[in-house]
């Protein structure tokens, strides 16, 4: 390995659909340095980083990292333990329900660390990042800054030689940001050989880096150390350097933003009095009061999770306050008042537009929903598109936009109806400085010229300085509230940032501050250059362990899975009955003689039939048969009795409702049997001899179910049904949910193989399903009292490969769908039909034909149903069961193999 070169891009280009994300790129990155990629949003920084990490598939050109070709999957597998990648977005590759400790442990397991090594490293990292007091807190309850520190711990657990950080401090408060970079510096000081590649939108951070790569529009526009770039452009601040590097003609407007002072007098736009919000025993917002005047720009500062967002939600009416009240323009905020909502534009912190709609469609939708006159919608959208520079992205789905562009779109949407009040929750997180300035120009214009009141939360100090007044919030309380200058003066601080950090440190005590004297050892390099094994039980179990934890953190799902199947067994075991009984019949008796009445009596005396009021006329019969009220009509002709007495062989007509064929068939059979009974009774009463209606004796033996009771047939059949639907649905969201929520990245960039990933995820669900199987068998035997005549051992031995197959079905569907909805709908549609119709529930598979037969043969439920019924009712031995068992054993491996083939180890 050459000591000076980390990575070499030559002719690397990337295209997403019609959009050229990267122009052919030629670039050499030095090793052992901090390399910063700077530039506005959507210029290709993230793409370069994802390629470098091996998370994204290389399209054209060649990329060598650590002197190896990144196209070569085997090479990638070998160097993955040397690379750590933190994707964009706060905690995007973390698992929200897992605790700090569990998250890091999971990553450590993926890199094959033993228990002792793992514990020592985790303790070191937690101490170094100051997260030790929070090790048992779930990741979702961490503030943004803490999430990023946790992400860093997860990335550093395996001592990487290359650390890739994609906008690690976006959306993080200044104190945490400062701590984050100090942490990186300390780590680098101890491991000088480590290369760090960072993308950032904060120019003030860029000054820390050894080498900068400035990008614009998918191309590199400048490359060198900060000083070299300064010298080259003759500019002093890096922001100015960047602008100077931009090619001719594309230079952004760079006038200094001048904010005219606010008049200071005016009616009160927002008044909050003692606003308090509690979630359970957690107080998110504690007695917050403030007043904001019309046309004022009011800023809210504070670390993540301090209650800013909750306060804003109370102002919009989304959350009714637990105590206190909020007024907008003199009226109490009322969620039901639609007019007051029309005055407010709200932008939530998380991206909340429709990802599948294009930029234009999103803008149009909101314009229409706010009832802008049709003629104004077009020009309004054109103006917004121009103002926020969205023209390039107009017809792209919002989900495909880079973070910063999405934020711009959200802003455009929030102001589409020219509201009198704007509530903006960290609107500029992840937006580059140029776009941020433009946005502020718009805010100032709205505030000063149109009298729009603006309530904004932010992490940027230069934005806080632009507000008329600001409030500092911490842990649900307002620490201080005044003009920026006054706050700065009260602490005697040189900058607002220092004043802010001073306030925060004072309020937070020592808990949030890093232990600067931490005895953190330099993480000892335990590297061996051996390639990781192609299959590792440890990694597999790592995923299984994590999936089990997530399942345990969602007890509702676990209870549903277990109790749900018991509940369904009750409904279906009793409910699905193939007995045909309680059939309503009507008689059209045109004779009304003792003989005809005796004939009808034979029917109404049968347990199968229930007599209803007589049929009066053919029209009556027609009507009652059409509605389905009557399943059977008996039509007795006139002079029935007289003809019967005189031996003229009268003819009775019956009409059977054939709408449901199998029921019709049964009704006809019952009717014929009842008729025959009447006939033999009649002959016996006349002659005293029982007639032989049949020419010989036919002994019918109902085997396995002598009482011919539905429950003995159905209960053993319901078990296979429930063991397919619930495990398949549980599993179906397994992979696709990681795709939708982002943690799939960990599959892309860690040494875990596809097989380990899939099997690891499957294992806990197989265990849950087996548990459910035993519960169902117990229920069948003890509650339904359906005896298990055969061997429980044999039945369980078949149940295990069966649930491996059924979870495998869910897994397979999960790998090829892209959304959770499609996975759910697909699993439901694809499993219901074959199981209910083609697996022998109501008729044996051998009796099926065409597609049904083929599907039945290829469906695991058919085989397990045979075994389940066989063991319950027939006490089959191993040799008899073996052919079905053998078939069951094949399904699991085939399904898993297919899933492995369909799953990608890199993003396309």
């Amino acid at each position: 390995m050459s000591d000076t070169v980390l990575a070499r891009f030559s002719g690397v280009a990337l295209r997403y659909g019609a959009v050229q994300a990267l122009a052919p790129l030629d670039l050499v990155l030095p090793a052992g340095q901090t390399v910063g990629f700077i530039g506005p949003d959507g210029v290709g920084k993230s793409s370069v980083l994802a390629l470098l990490a091996g998370a994204r598939k290389l399209q054209t050109g060649t990329l060598t990292v650590f002197d190896g070709d990144m196209r070569d999957a085997r090479f990638r597998a070998r160097i993955q333990p040397r690379i750590a990648y933190m994707p964009q977005g706060l905690g995007r590759n973390l698992y929200p329900t897992l605790s700090v400790d569990e998250n890091i442990t999971f990553f450590a397991r993926l890199f094959g660390q033993g228990r002792a090594e793992r514990r020592a490293r985790i303790d070191e990292l937690l101490a170094a990042t100051g997260l030790t007091p929070f090790r048992d807190r779930p990741a979702m309850k961490l503030s943004g800054g803490m999430k990023q520190k946790l992400g860093l711990c997860c990335a550093l657990i395996h001592d990487p030689d290359l650390l890739i950080l994609d906008e690690p401090t976006t959306g993080v408060d200044p104190l945490s940001r400062r701590q984050f970079w100090e942490l990186i510096d300390r780590i680098r000081a101890r491991r000088p050989g480590m290369s760090v590649v960072v993308a950032t939108a904060y120019m003030e951070e860029a000054a820390r880096f050894d080498t900068l790569v400035a990008m614009n529009d998918g191309a590199v526009i400048g490359h060198g150390s900060p000083d070299e770039l300064r010298a080259h452009t003759g500019e002093d601040s890096l922001e100015a350097v960047f602008v100077a590097l931009l090619p001719e003609g594309s230079a952004h407007r760079r006038e200094k933003l001048v904010i005219p002072p606010h008049s200071g007098q005016g009616e009160i736009a927002i008044r909050a009095e003692g606003l308090t919000q509690r979630f359970g025993d957690f107080t998110a917002v504690n007695a917050v009061s403030f007043e904001i005047q019309r046309g004022e720009i009011f800023g809210f500062l504070g670390s993540n999770g301090c209650g800013k967002t909750t306060t804003m939600k109370m102002l919009t009416g989304l959350l009714p306050p637990t105590e206190g009240r909020a007024e907008l323009f003199g009226k109490t905020v009322d969620a039901r008042n639609l007019d007051s909502r029309r005055q407010v534009g709200y932008m939530s912190q998380a991206f909340s537009l429709y990802g599948e709609l294009t930029v234009r469609q999103n803008l149009e939708l909101h314009a229409q929903l706010f009832h802008l006159p049709a003629a104004e919608i077009g020009p309004r959208i054109d103006a917004l598109v121009a103002r926020f520079a969205l023209a390039r992205y107009l017809d792209l789905p919002a989900a495909e936009l880079p973070l910063g562009i999405r934020q711009r779109l959200s802003l455009a949407v929030a102001v589409v109806h020219s509201p009198a009040l704007l509530i903006l929750d960290e609107p500029t997180s992840g937006v580059d400085p140029v776009a941020r300035d433009e946005f502020w120009a718009l805010l100032v214009e709205l505030s000063r010229e149109n009298g729009v009141t603006i309530f904004i939360s932010t992490h940027f100090m230069n934005e806080a300085l632009r507000c008329d007044r600001i409030s500092l919030m911490h842990a649900g309380r307002v620490l201080a509230s005044d003009t920026p200058a006054a706050l700065q003066a009260s602490r005697g601080a040189a900058t607002l940032e220092d004043a802010f950090i001073d306030y925060l440190s004072e309020a937070a005590g020592t808990a949030g501050a890093p232990p600067t004297d931490a005895p953190a050892q330099p993480p000892t390099a335990a590297h061996n250059d051996r390639p990781p094994p192609w299959f590792s039980l440890g990694r597999l179990l790592g995923y299984a362990w994590r999936e089990t934890l997530e399942l345990r953190r969602d007890p509702i799902r676990l209870v549903f899975a277990l109790l749900g199947s018991v509940l369904l067994m009750f409904m279906l075991g009793y409910g699905i009955t193939l007995d045909v009984e309680n059939l309503h019949f009507g008689v059209h008796d045109q004779d009304d003689s003792p003989e005809s009445r005796a004939y009808v009596q034979t029917f109404s005396g049968s347990r199968y039939f229930i007599e209803t009021p007589p049929v009066r006329s053919p029209a009556d019969m027609e009507r009652r048969m059409l509605t389905g009220e009557l399943a059977l009509v008996i039509d007795i002709p006139p002079r029935f009795g007289a003809d019967l007495r005189s031996g003229r062989a009268p003819e009775v007509a019956i009409w059977v409702d054939g709408a449901m064929p199998f029921r019709g068939e049964t009704i006809r059979g019952y009717a014929e049997g009842t008729h025959a009974r009447f006939l033999s009774e009649m002959i016996r009463s006349r002659t005293g001899v029982s007639p032989d209606l049949l020419p010989t004796d036919i002994e019918v033996r109902y085997r396995y179910n002598q009482d011919f009771k539905s429950i003995y047939a159905m209960v053993p059949a319901v078990i296979p049904m429930l063991l397919i639907f619930i495990p398949a649905i549980l599993m179906a969201l397994g992979v696709v949910r990681e795709k939708e929520l982002g943690s799939i990245t960990n599959l892309y960039v860690t040494p875990v193989s596809r097989l380990e990933f899939l099997l690891g995820k499957q294992l806990p669900y197989v265990a849950v399903s087996m548990f459910s199987f035993f519960a169902l068998v117990a229920q069948a035997v003890w509650i339904f009292e359906v005896p298990l005549k055969g061997s429980l051992w044999l039945l369980s031995a078949a149940a295990l490969p069966y649930v491996i197959a059924t979870t495998g079905i869910g897994l397979l569907i999960s790998t090829f769908t892209r959304s959770q909805i499609a996975a759910l709908a697909g699993t439901a549609i694809l499993t219901l039909l074959p199981t209910v119709q083609f697996s022998g529930l109501t008729e044996p598979v051998s009796g099926l034909e065409g597609a049904g037969y083929v599907i039945g043969q290829l469906w695991p439920a058919s085989y397990f149903l045979t075994i389940s019924r066989g063991e319950f009712t027939k006490a089959l031995d191993f040799a008899t069961v073996w052919p079905s068992l053998r078939a069951l054993l094949i399904f699991g491996p085939v399904l898993i193999a297919l899933s492995v083939m369909l799953l990608r180890k890199q993003e396309d």
Binding site: Q368, G575, G658, A659
Partner: protein, 370 residues
């Protein structure tokens, strides 16, 4: 208000059409799914596998065996007494007939030799019908052999089957599968779309706009219901009527109108479930818990009147039994609106109740999500 509902629905349609895999699943459900269900399944006796143990090997027994014909029976398998048990055990045959030695000779001598018919009673529906078929076939052959005619009896029965004279199971299976898919897709699509909006935060966004919860729900309901309705109607016209040539007795437009009403109620159930579940995985399990009883206990698979009374009463609260009863009356029996309005009323009423509950829960759910 109508404008907002319309706009929200259009948005819904755009989201739906952006998910290609979902569209493929919908198309599959209403084409290949229907076709497979209709042609593969027949609940009446069809291709029943039979084994024959013939100790007589006479002309008479051979004639009886040839009487077990397609489409009711598969060609009978000759087997020994020992094999017969294994075949029945493995479920490879559902019926096994045993003719004793010297059957023909004894029959001719009027000794009434017994024929044994073994039936695998774990296949309830088939075993009962199959037993009576086998009995009839044996009786007919023997009567023919003995020269007896059945018309010599003092009273005759003429059985006529209405609405589906040949009791063709294809008709039933195909149409019922259309209904099953309507139920399933409408609940899944609407419920999952609702949860997606909550997981992605877009619901919150809608709730701060001048939109009422009613408008948000109505937009979801009409758009998803429309897609399912169009797919179901096309499927009925082209797959069921044209391709499979299944006669439909009544008015398709009346059925479609009823289906629209039904979709309103299932879509409302979908949103209701969406407000109950806190995440997509939970919703997936809820769906199974609800869909299985709806499909299996509503009269589309086995007749409702035979179910335990408690089950019947519980299912009364769901729209599906009413819709299946409506659909069978209209499509199979040709009933008109004057006969089926009570079912329509029930469907509308139940739908309105679920819609109301879902509406009340909507705002509460958003607060929960924090």
């Amino acid at each position: 208000m109508l404008g907002n509902i319309f706009r929200l629905g259009i948005k819904e349609l755009r989201s739906l059409f952006a998910d290609r895999m979902l569209l493929i699943i919908i198309v599959w459900a209403f084409t290949a799914g229907i076709y497979a269900a209709a042609t593969g399944m027949s609940r009446e006796l069809h291709n029943a596998p039979v084994a024959v143990v013939d100790f007589d090997q006479s002309a008479l027994t051979a004639r009886i065996v040839t009487g077990l014909r397609a489409p009711w029976f598969l060609p009978p398998r000759q087997s020994t007494l020992g094999e017969m048990d294994t075949l029945l055990d493995r479920g490879e045959v559902s019926f096994a007939i045993v003719f004793p030695e010297r059957f023909q000779r004894d029959f001719a001598a009027g000794k009434r030799p017994a024929v044994q018919v073994n039936i695998d009673a774990t296949n309830m529906g088939q075993s009962f019908i199959g037993a009576s078929y086998i009995r009839n076939i044996i009786t007919e052959e023997l009567q023919y052999e003995a020269g007896v005619r059945s018309t010599d009896l003092p009273l005759n029965l003429v059985a006529r089957v209405r609405f589906n004279p040949n009791l063709n199971g294809l008709w039933f299976g195909g149409v019922m599968e259309v209904i099953n898919n309507i139920t399933l897709l409408s609940i899944v699509l609407v419920g999952a779309a609702f949860i997606r909006e909550r997981e992605h935060g877009t619901l919150e966004h809608l709730l701060v706009m001048p939109l009422s919860a009613f408008e948000i729900m109505a937009g979801k309901v009409w758009a998803n219901a429309l897609v399912v309705l169009i797919a179901a109607t096309l499927s009925l016209r082209f797959i069921v009527q044209l391709l499979m040539d299944i006669p439909i007795a009544g008015s398709v437009s009346l059925f479609v109108a009823g289906a629209a009403l039904y979709l309103f109620s299932t879509a409302s159930i979908g949103i209701f479930l969406g407000t109950l579940a806190r995440s997509m995985p939970q919703f997936g399990l809820l769906i199974i818990l609800v869909i299985l009883p709806l499909q299996l206990l509503s009269g589309g698979v086995t007749p409702r009147e035979s179910m335990p009374l408690l089950v019947q009463q519980i299912m009364e609260a769901a729209p599906t039994p009413h819709f299946i009863s409506f659909a069978q009356a209209v499509l199979f029996r040709g009933a008109g609106i004057e006969l089926v309005w009570p079912q329509l009323l029930a469907i509308a009423g139940i739908g309105a109740i679920f819609f109301g509950i879902a509406l009340a829960r909507l705002r509460k759910t958003v607060a929960q999500a924090q």
